[in-house]
Symmetry: C2
Subunit: 435 residues, 2 copies
């Protein structure tokens, strides 16, 4: 599913790159001919090619690239006097300014969710270089692995490991659709999987993390603005309902003799819809269903149903899931089936750092302030470092789909806004970055 | 997923093999560690190993093995005087007696659906040899490919091609889950795919086809008998409902802004159940559902739902499918989605040859006469050659599942019954085999 990079000579002039141009170079990487759009899963061919692109873009800018213990890529521009960031860096605690996003996608995702933030970061570095903006603060562009959780089922896996929001043992044991563990796949990609996990020294060096991301709704379209400042990420999680019945032959088993978990699974899908509508502001989605064995002429023995549920108020999210579970048990019992509920991941609502957000709105007075229902690495890191987000307008409002879209002009406006924010953070060290 | 054969030396004594012993030799082939039971798909490692086993068992019995133009394996015991069967055989039209079944399985199927009929056929050949039963009639053991349709979606593909019940062009274009065409896969397995299709000369040589199969219900358990004679196969088919909505982000899309095909798909699953219950004797099953793209945090853009529907009266099957379709359109419209219905395969109710069935009940007066809701190669061949079936008791009544079961004693009783039937067909050539 992976095409190659559209190469540029590495001795190309160092004029500021456009975001659109950067994204054009990877437009053929990881296309999904079946689903449309892109399927770039952590450590698969496509995502690996994007990592190579990241390294090449970093080296083109003379940034120093390192892979952290959890597989994230960091491209460092050292501070004046050679002050280095990262764990044990010479710039000191809280000095580094970090921006970036992720390279992986959902199955059949769009071109922007993830790569826009990384491409905008490189473009912003170019703008800072062109403006001659330097300070003693190191600046890094980062790309976190497995943000979507599309391969191993836990979103923001790289940032969670970094922040200690998932145990290394649990991460190592996660499996993909082929039954391969994260430990096996990451080791094959060159990671020392015994050393994955929290990295407090790396976090301590960071003074601010700013993630730019394509907007995943119509907020900016409706407001007629190209760029927004993020305020909060809705609490959300993933749950798996495993419904077990009696596998049997589709032709020989009378209707009233059946214990068919697919019928119960259908009831769970409808219950999720109804319960979410009953709770204003809640979202509940079943986007993935896996019948076992999954044959046309076979009554399934088990059906796994994945639920994604979100609400600004964590108590409401919990109530929504509890009510869906209550109804799932009822529909399963009516079908003679059993249901087991497993929480695969959960994160409460995240409010970004007030002081850092005030700095962003100060630099970008035109930008509206929006929250988002989507999860991000920024949401994980917000609990351990001062964190903020910028959103770039998406004309379709559609995301996690090939129809996701960004105009070239808006992409560039976003990169300029990001450069403005980074310039402020780099050049006003006398002010505390955070409140 | 494929283990090896438990080999026996090829110079082993030619005492009659037991069915249980034959099946033990392949008990490790094609096990499915994920679903349980066996996944043996046409031309995969497991099914290919079973083909090698078939050839070895045939050669152990000095049977002459050939692969027909459609990939079925035929092991011939020539008639007295060297009279050969098959197309252009010297025994003449209608002389050959054929028995056998298939080697492939559904995903996560049992050990008996298919291989029991092949193993019983080899065991029956041994019994005939031990009894000294020979005549000028050639006898063949056959194994048809892709009976379950688990890989390419059309059940009984090998027998359909042989009988002209599917066009070669359509068969060549069928694709598996990896997007490989039947033409590519069959060619890789050594078939000349330009030559697949109807083989009237081969069919003309056959006087009778008798397929022994594990029973896929509780008929024999309830009657307390080990073996039944088949009377009919219920009409059945496969239909695909493709529901198209709007793919989007699970977190950012408000519930009332959605056009979610998974919600409509759930409605179709429940409609199928309700409509089948409303039509006495009907069976309607959704065992396979495929959301696209299938990510947990993604509202699907399309969901494919496969329906298996059956009834003894073809008009009722048609009415059941039409009513499910009517309801599917209604639930899809209510969700702002569109639904397209495709018939993937259909076969009307098959009544086996009356004269041949009378011969079987004459030879096996104790055996009850049962119909079946399951499809079989015998159901396809019944339209072109005189065909009959035997069923061996299944204590669980469960099929297409690892819980499918046959007692060793019943398996051997089934082989003896098959040998009795074959002996009758071979030794009474003065009577017409068919009415």
């Amino acid at each position: 599913m992976s095409g190659g990079l559209t190469g540029r000579p590495t001795d190309a002039p160092t004029a500021p790159a456009s975001v659109a141009g950067l994204l054009r170079d990877i437009a053929d990487v990881g296309r999904d001919a079946t689903r449309g759009g892109y399927s770039r899963f952590v450590y698969d061919d496509g995502e690996t090619t994007l990592r190579e692109w990241f390294v090449a873009e970093a080296e083109r800018r003379s940034l120093e690239v390192e892979t952290d213990r959890n597989g994230a890529l960091w491209a460092w521009r050292h501070g004046t006097g050679g002050a280095t960031g990262g764990p044990g860096g010479t710039a000191g605690p809280g000095a580094a300014v970090v921006t970036g996003s992720h390279l992986d996608s959902v199955p059949g995702g769009g071109a922007y969710d993830g790569p826009l933030g990384v491409a905008s970061a490189f473009a912003a570095v170019d703008l800072l270089d062109a403006r001659g903006v330097r300070s003693e603060r190191p600046l890094a562009v980062v790309a976190f692995p497995e943000e979507e959780g599309a391969r191993f089922g836990v979103a923001c896996l790289g940032s969670r490991l970094l922040a200690g929001a998932i145990t290394p043992d649990r991460a190592r044991a996660l499996t993909d659709a082929d039954g391969l563990t994260f430990a096996e796949v990451a080791a094959r990609a060159g990671l020392d999987v015994d050393r994955i996990g929290p990295d407090p020294a790396r976090l301590a060096a960071i003074g601010a993390f700013v993630e730019l991301h394509v907007e995943q709704g119509r907020g900016l379209v409706d407001l007629g603005e190209p760029v927004a400042v993020g305020s909060a990420i809705l609490g959300h999680g993933r749950w798996r309902f495993s419904v077990t019945g009696q596998g049997n032959h589709a032709g020989t088993t009378l209707m009233l003799d059946r214990r068919d978990p697919m019928v119960a699974a259908a009831g769970i899908v409808l219950a999720a819809r109804e319960v979410a509508i009953d709770h204003a502001g809640a979202r509940a989605t079943v986007g993935r269903v896996q019948p076992v064995p999954g044959g046309t002429n076979v009554i399934a023995s088990r059906v796994d149903v994945w639920l994604d549920a979100r609400h600004p108020d964590d108590a409401v999210t919990a109530a929504v899931v509890a009510e869906i579970h209550r109804r799932a048990v009822a529909v399963a019992e009516a079908e003679g089936c059993e249901v087991v509920l497993v929480e695969e991941s959960y994160g409460g609502t995240v409010h970004f750092d007030d002081g850092l957000r005030a700095r962003l709105t100060d630099v970008l007075p035109q930008a509206p302030v929006l929250d988002t229902g989507a999860g991000h690495d920024a949401g994980v890191l917000a609990s351990v470092v001062p964190t903020a987000m910028l959103f770039t307008r998406n004309p379709t409002g559609v995301s996690h789909s090939p129809e996701e879209s960004v105009e070239d002009d808006d992409a560039q406006t976003g990169a300029v806004a990001l450069a403005d924010v980074l310039e402020s953070l780099l050049l006003r060290p006398q002010e505390p970055i955070v409140s």
